[in-house]
């Protein structure tokens, strides 16, 4: 085995060593740019997701208010009933468009369905409608399910942020790419 210092000091290897040093510099520059750019993109995506979730929370609270008002009204309103189911569908469509993996969306499915059921399964049709009081099980159930729904959205956001693979998988890939280019 030749001594490494002999190889470095050999004038015949000077060209190769200059190329090696310059390649290292470029790889560090590109690697640094990649990491900073990834962090910036992540931060922007996080902001977008946060803004979408805040809008969803506002929509859920608005539907909750509308649904409570529907159930405590002294008369049945088919127009309000239709508006409520349409708004619920609109929320589900917004969730479908969120930039998170399907696994996270599946996590909030039970709370979403419970919220909808609390509003529109009982006392929602003209034949069964009976004006409710504010502390009735129907109204309290709607309020509780709305809180659970919002909480599940927050949990989804937090799980998404803390996902190990989402954060580090790209760095692992870039390290493998670096290794493949260099050696």
């Amino acid at each position: 085995m030749p001594d490494i210092w002999v190889l470095i000091n050999d004038p015949e290897n000077a060209g190769f060593l200059r190329l090696f040093a310059s390649a290292t510099t470029w790889i560090l520059i590109l690697g640094g740019w990649f990491v900073v750019n990834s962090h910036n993109n992540d931060r922007e995506k996080r902001k977008e997701l946060r803004a979408s979730l805040d809008l969803l929370k506002v929509d859920i609270l608005a539907i909750t208010q509308k649904a409570v008002s529907f159930h405590v009204n002294s008369y049945y309103s088919s127009y309000e009933a239709m508006q409520i189911v349409s708004n619920i569908k609109s929320i589900n469509r917004s969730i479908n468009r969120l930039h998170v993996s399907d696994a996270y969306k599946l996590d909030i499915q039970p709370q979403s369905n419970k919220f909808k059921q609390r509003i529109s399964l009982v006392n929602f049709d003209s034949s069964s409608f009976c004006p409710q009081v504010y502390d009735s099980p129907v109204v309290m159930g709607i309020i509780k399910s709305s809180e659970d729904y919002i909480d599940s959205l927050e949990t989804m956001f937090s799980d998404h942020l803390n996902s190990f693979w989402r954060r580090y998988f790209k760095y692992l890939l870039s390290l493998l790419g670096f290794y493949w280019c260099y050696f």
Partner: protein, 105 residues
């Protein structure tokens, strides 16, 4: 015939609402009696397209699909024959399945 596709928005109503016939002209009971029961007996597979409607109340879905399981003697046929398409609302199919499972008893 082997398969049939039912597009609720086009063939029934884009505004389905209500549980029973007395609740309105496009109730879950009406959909079950006029679309689901006649077709499930005649076809091998029933593909139901849920997209395009304004929204479904849970009572409509429970009466249409949960009611279908309660109405038919052999409820396993329903699970085997009925399939759903829902590209707009990702949670709808799971909700319907929960009503069908609940009605099975």
């Amino acid at each position: 015939m082997l398969n049939m596709i039912i597009n609720i928005a086009k063939e029934f109503s884009p505004f389905p609402a209500g549980r029973f016939l007395t609740d309105g002209p496009y109730s879950g009971e009406k959909f079950r009696e006029e679309f689901l029961i006649p077709n499930i007996e005649r076809h091998e597979e029933l593909l139901i397209n849920l997209d395009g409607v304004m929204g479904f109340g849970s009572s409509f879905l429970e009466e249409a699909f949960g009611g279908l399981v309660r109405r038919l003697d052999n409820s396993s046929v329903v699970f085997k024959k009925i399939k759903f398409i829902s590209n707009e609302d990702p949670f709808l199919i799971d909700e319907i399945n929960s009503y069908m499972e609940g009605a099975k008893g």
